[in-house]
Symmetry: C2
Subunit: 191 residues, 2 copies
Amino acid sequence: MRYEPEHKTRTRELIVRNAARKLRTEGLSGPGVASVMKASGLTVGGFYKHFGSKDELLADAIAQGFSELSEKVHSSLQDVPPQDRWKEVVRWYLSPEHCNHPGTGCPVVTLAPEIARAKLTIRKRTASLMKELADTWAVFMPGGTAKERERNFFVIFSAMAGAVAIARLLPEPADRERVLASVRDYLLASL
Amino acid sequence: MRYEPEHKTRTRELIVRNAARKLRTEGLSGPGVASVMKASGLTVGGFYKHFGSKDELLADAIAQGFSELSEKVHSSLQDVPPQDRWKEVVRWYLSPEHCNHPGTGCPVVTLAPEIARAKLTIRKRTASLMKELADTWAVFMPGGTAKERERNFFVIFSAMAGAVAIARLLPEPADRERVLASVRDYLLASL
DNA sequence: TGTACATCAGTGAACGCGCGTTCACTGATGTAC
DNA sequence: TGTACATCAGTGAACGCGCGTTCACTGATGTAC
């Protein structure tokens, strides 16, 4: 073979990673196929050697966003005692760093409304990613029972995602911080 | 004149109202100029007799969405005693009806991430609409001081917007309701 | 009162442009004999 | 060992198509004289 056996797989993964970042920066229908390929050091024509359609790329890129989120949170919780973990997540999620860098942040804030309007295939795939996230994160959420932790996951995650979405549409950093701080302080103090 | 003096104004308002609904259903860059004009019983060519550009329509349509939201909430609170008003808002916002009808619902859930990526003119205009909403709604939010009510507005509004955004990307009605109910029950019980 | 002209919301075809997708081709490296 | 052919990731031009925008035109009604 002209390339190492894993070459094609690695190229595909590179494209998906670049698409995942571009999607969160420019929106679900923001980046064109050409722009994603260029960001990966390739040209448009090669795209269909890796993907059956642009939708296939979108689905994979959304999944990539979720898995980056899991990884980021998982690795930052390594040295945090179990009962403090949800607080660490809240602090990171509602930080100016996260708010100001959508491209490497949570895909739910950035893409949820657009995914809700997307093709059923994409919505179904995202729904199962969302459920997986709920199950994984619920275990370190506050609450005495599994039901309570699940409910608190939805409360905390909804509040965080909503807060970042609202903060991001305010151009003034001070206004952004006021929204983020309101929700951060409330969640940390009241749960 | 060939038309009544108010004819042009009314036509423009009709276009804006139709655009406001279409935007929330199909996204900020979903409906084309032709489709909005058609929905208003007109043809593409006439568009630039009313608007300088599509962006001008978008800005007006977003504002229209906010004003419909204010009106809807204002009129539903007429007969509700002041201290119960925020609960009424929570119940409506987190209802399946609202969740299942984005076109006539809150523009923040549907459009926030796309507006955050839009031109600065649009972002600035939306930011001031958002602040206006915060000021108007804060007065009937729970809390002893103005500062507390403002903070609680951001907490409640973030949680509601996030919950509806997440619920809407789940295709199963039962899953949607679980998210909505979690946040609804929590907010009504704990604030 | 009648005729010529002005106004202007609305029409519909045309314009570039960027998009997703297709396709004939390239060129480095493998295999067959 | 050398030559002919096969493979296949990647190239770049071309394709329809829908978009925002432009523009010459329409036709109902106003005003001037």
